[in-house]
Symmetry: C2
Subunit: 241 residues, 2 copies
């Protein structure tokens, strides 16, 4: 079972091969739309956004009957994607099926590349969704990362119903960092609706942010030069001139 | 200027297109060897491992003369790669050249995919190289991430001359986590010399680890099932059965 790709340009060879070799494609509707060019003639099983367990079980069920199945995540299936659940559910079955996990370009990398190089120094990926992890635990992680001057990429920063967490995260970072610290917001990166905003810690909450956004907050050495958001690694760039 | 790919199977379409469209390819010898199939007939500028500034300047120099240049990193150029330096140096030039940064599959994602799904919950990427960042700062980040129960991917964990940092990192994690916490070591992932080891916090230092390794240390919920290293996100996998 292959687990495949994100935006068309960021697809890997391995992901495209896996889709091509598969007989059944399983995934969230929005992601299946992104790979329509690869899936004609194949059996398609699509489902809604919060149906992760059902989607995985459908994929494993098909695989257990001998079909080659691709379970599709956007970005990297191993980072807030479907890889963990697929492995976990497969191990619970009597006859587990062979699984191949195909790594992809995660949304933090894709967003970073569009705006510069904010992730050049140590960074953390933190999801603000408290559906599966308690907000207390998430808040402690934000505090730890903010205090340790690490760059952060926030996944699932905000939904229609969940807006307080991002405000609280901003408040925590504001305790440790200047209001002028660069912040990038990438929404639907790699798709036709892609939108990239460069802002700062004092103002980024005014921007449009949703569940398809990634928010990257710089650290004390991050800066904006000529419209690029970079976190310099500290090479002596002038000493050779 | 495109910045391109890692192991052949993990190359993205965008990276392959950039190499194809480029007239000059600049990179560290080892990485250029990985893309030999794409570079015949092109001008090649290769250099040694610690020549990052020179390599970037050579690429920018060529680009300033109107050539289309690909500056090659392995993995994701935006994560401990060349993207930041290229942008920084370009902005210092009088006539900066147009730059396109092409995101890739970072080594943490590639290693995770080979061994399961250890990065399914919040995690940090930390480089143990103290060439450009002081060990005091790095140690504080390790302590913060360990205390906040985050999974960690350690980049540049160990070199021939630098072995103490990894031992100290292990000691810090051991303060907060059980000795049985799963640890994965991926070396030269995506290449023909790829080697993956699954170990635990008490024993992983006995394994072969070098500058081409990534070390992934699980958190309190990480576990090994049927040889897979996973960090469950907490879906109720049994409630639907």
């Amino acid at each position: 079972m292959g687990i495949g790709p994100g935006g068309p340009q960021d697809r890997t060879r391995r992901a495209e091969r896996a889709i091509a070799e598969s007989q059944v494609i399983v995934g969230y509707k929005r992601y299946l739309n992104l790979i329509q060019d690869l899936t004609s003639g194949k059996e398609i099983i699509s489902s809604g956004m919060t149906m992760e367990v059902e989607r995985c079980k459908a994929a494993l069920e098909k695989a257990s009957h001998g079909y080659i199945v691709a379970l599709v995540s956007s970005g990297d299936p191993g980072i807030y994607g479907m890889a963990g659940l697929a492995v976990e559910l497969s191990c619970q079955q009597k006859n587990s099926v062979p699984i191949e996990i195909i790594p992809g370009v995660t949304a933090a990398s894709a967003t970073a590349a569009r705006i510069g190089a904010p992730l050049m120094l140590d960074f953390a990926c933190i999801s603000l969704s408290d559906l599966l992890v308690s907000w207390d635990v998430i808040r402690q992680r934000i505090e730890a990362v903010a205090a340790a001057d690490m760059v952060v990429a926030l996944y699932n920063p905000k939904s229609k119903k969940r807006i307080d967490q991002l405000v609280e995260a901003a408040t925590i970072f504001r305790k440790y960092r200047n209001g002028t610290t660069p912040v990038a917001i990438g929404t639907s990166v790699g798709t036709q609706e892609e939108n990239i905003v460069l802002s700062d810690l004092d103002h980024f909450l005014d921007s449009q942010i949703n569940m398809r956004s990634i928010v990257i907050i710089g650290n004390s050495s991050s800066k904006v030069i000529d419209g690029w958001f970079i976190t310099p690694r500290g090479y002596k760039t002038h000493s050779y001139e």
